[in-house]
Amino acid sequence: MTDMALTPEMDPGLPADAGTGPPHEVLGPEDRRRRRRRLAILAVLSALAVVLLVFSTWYLLFRKPISQLPLPGFDLPPMPAYSYSLYGMGQPTGIAVTPDGSRVYVTQTTGEDAVLMLDGQGQVIAALQSPDTTTDHVFVYVAISPINAEVYVSDRPAADVLVFAPDGTFLRTFEPPASLVGWQPLGLNFTPDGHLFVTDLGANAVYEFDKDGQLLRTIGSNGMFNYPNATAEDALGRLYVSDSNNGRLVVFGRTGEVLGVIRRGSAIGDLGIPRGLAIDDRGLLYVVDNTDHSIKVYRTSADPVALPEFLGSFGEPGIGEGMFRFPNAVATDTRGRLYVADWNNDRVQVWTY
């Protein structure tokens, strides 16, 4: 079938001005149907192209899993799913990951006295070691400075915080003020503006240092804590401290006042021995429960004086995929992944949404 084109002279029913403009296409019923069909196809393809463009733009900007695509009316799943594991380390206790997930730093407490640096595919590409070979070292926790990507590592027997360049070169030892007598650093955590929180087992306290290493404040030096392991600060400035041997998470307000605790117990959302902490870019707080062999997930509140809301937990005891044996630390990247140091399974598990 061919399109039929008529000139105005051929059809007396045409409008008076029909001959003054360019010749118009004259359509029969079949042509009109075909044209409607083309327009419909065009509309569908346009919609698909727009969806593809929006998704591609969103993904290339944020690199998050599809499940985190912000669609109106759809709530994000609060619990992640097991994705894969990274092997090659011995009894990992601490973990830190760059925002894009391209570098993962893992402390190990058996095997070589080293912090392992892995690439995003889980290949060990460097081992960060202390230049001091005369004493024992046990690297427990690790954190990455958001200012210059330097890697801070707590060394338990040496009672030091070692600082490495992003490529693993040893740079220096972090020097606390002389006033901090009996300094035994353990947990390390940076805020986005480069402030460093350190938990100190000597004083059972938490210190906040500015990005130049100056001590800004001390939290909990009055015997409040018993083996504080980790800290995390949320977007509203609340500080969460895993007060491990008291079996609780202590929540401080922006000005240092205690807002409340999430304690040890058997109720839903209660804790056993909390260790590592992390807060992702959606404001979800992850608490490693060492003896429950699980990660508990809470939503931090928009109310600056409210405690986080328990959402659920994931993991169970065992050696299978998605199972933990005494997990100790957790870290998040900005791509929807959670990294869990699965201590007694000698691996890091990666969970994703």
Binding site: L52, T93, G120, R263, G265, N290, F326, W343
Partner: protein, 324 residues
């Protein structure tokens, strides 16, 4: 074709068919290229080839060890255990069979093969392995603390219950419990066996022991306890056991409703412990402390009440767990 067909004009400025075709073709090309491209980027971004799991790695390592030393029975046992952990019971049984061919009294292989045969439903074959282990181990010096022997008796108990022989199951489980009297699984199964043969009084005792070692998170022994109390026509006991089932299933209102009327009666201590656990589940720590203290007022060294108080209040003073 009709001679009076309607003829219309395209609207001025409307795209021609050729333009529409070009647009459609262009969009198809964009989608055909863009979709796979973003799919590939997404896959490469999200995918990590992490290799085998822990159990898979153990299998690879054990297989290599057996290849290096094919006559070393210990390595074959390790390989069988790796296969079993990797959920490959048939391969594991084959390795155990090789070991038993060379050493028929190898108790690790007898127990391992017996457990796997039971797992895949070969009950008579499993029973033969368990019995062979018992024959080897029952008169040895360490028989009273031999966990392999205990497991073999337990396995025979499970098989007897599965095959509808509760009296024989009770005998086997009694042998198992003589070696480990804290085995909650054996105690629960013993309770079921005793219920089946009508010995409700001893069933209650076994099941109460089972829940003493695993007080929460496992509803089965409480369900069986309700049956046993029912056999004794002890309605308070039935209410207590059903209340605990409700608690474990998260039905806190039902649990409280079942337990509260029992306080002050013959099951008062049990009910108060249950109410303390219920209050803990609700996060009502004051109520939990009150319930546990009421128990301690009567029984000052009640382990469950002391444990409950420890959970809701007393701070630990030593480092637990795995921190170096």
């Amino acid at each position: 074709m009709s001679n009076t067909k309607t003829i219309g004009l395209a609207r001025p400025g409307a795209p021609s068919d050729r333009t529409l075709n070009r647009l459609i073709g262009g969009l198809i090309a964009v989608i055909a290229i863009g979709l796979p491209a973003i799919g590939v980027i997404y896959y490469l971004d999200r995918h990590v080839d992490a290799g085998p799991s822990i159990t898979g790695r153990a299998v690879i390592s054990a297989e290599e060890a057996v290849r290096q030393n094919p006559n070393e029975l210990g390595m074959r046992v390790a390989l069988a255990q790796a296969y079993a952990a990797d959920d490959r019971p048939v391969d594991a049984i084959a390795q155990y069979t090789i070991v038993l061919g060379a050493e028929p009294t190898n108790t690790t292989a007898l127990l391992g093969r017996g457990d796997l045969q039971r797992q895949i439903g070969q009950l008579d074959v499993a029973a033969a392995d368990y019995q062979a282990l018992i024959d080897v181990a029952k008169d040895t010096e360490m028989a009273n603390i031999d966990r392999f022997l205990q497991s073999a008796y337990y396995g025979l108990g499970v098989i007897a219950m599965t095959q509808g022989r509760p009296a024989n199951a009770a005998t086997q489980l009694a042998n198992s419990l003589r070696i480990d009297r804290t085995d909650a699984d054996a105690l629960d199964l013993m309770g079921q066996a005793l219920i089946a043969i009508g010995d409700h009084e001893n069933a209650v005792e076994a099941l109460r022991d089972a829940v003493a070692f695993v007080p929460t998170g496992w509803a089965d022994p409480y369900s069986h306890l309700a049956q046993a109390y029912g056999g004794l026509a002890d309605q308070g006991g039935v209410a207590y056991a059903n209340g605990m089932v409700a608690l474990i299933e998260g039905q806190l209102d039902d649990a409280q409703a079942a337990l509260e009327p029992l306080v002050g009666g013959s099951h008062s201590r049990d009910a108060l412990i249950g109410l303390g656990l219920t209050a803990e589940q609700r996060g009502d720590l004051n109520a939990a402390v009150d319930a546990y203290r009421r128990v301690l007022a009567v029984v000052p060294d009640d382990f469950a009440a002391l444990s409950g108080l420890s959970r809701v209040g007393a701070p630990a003073t030593v480092e637990y767990g795995s921190n170096p």
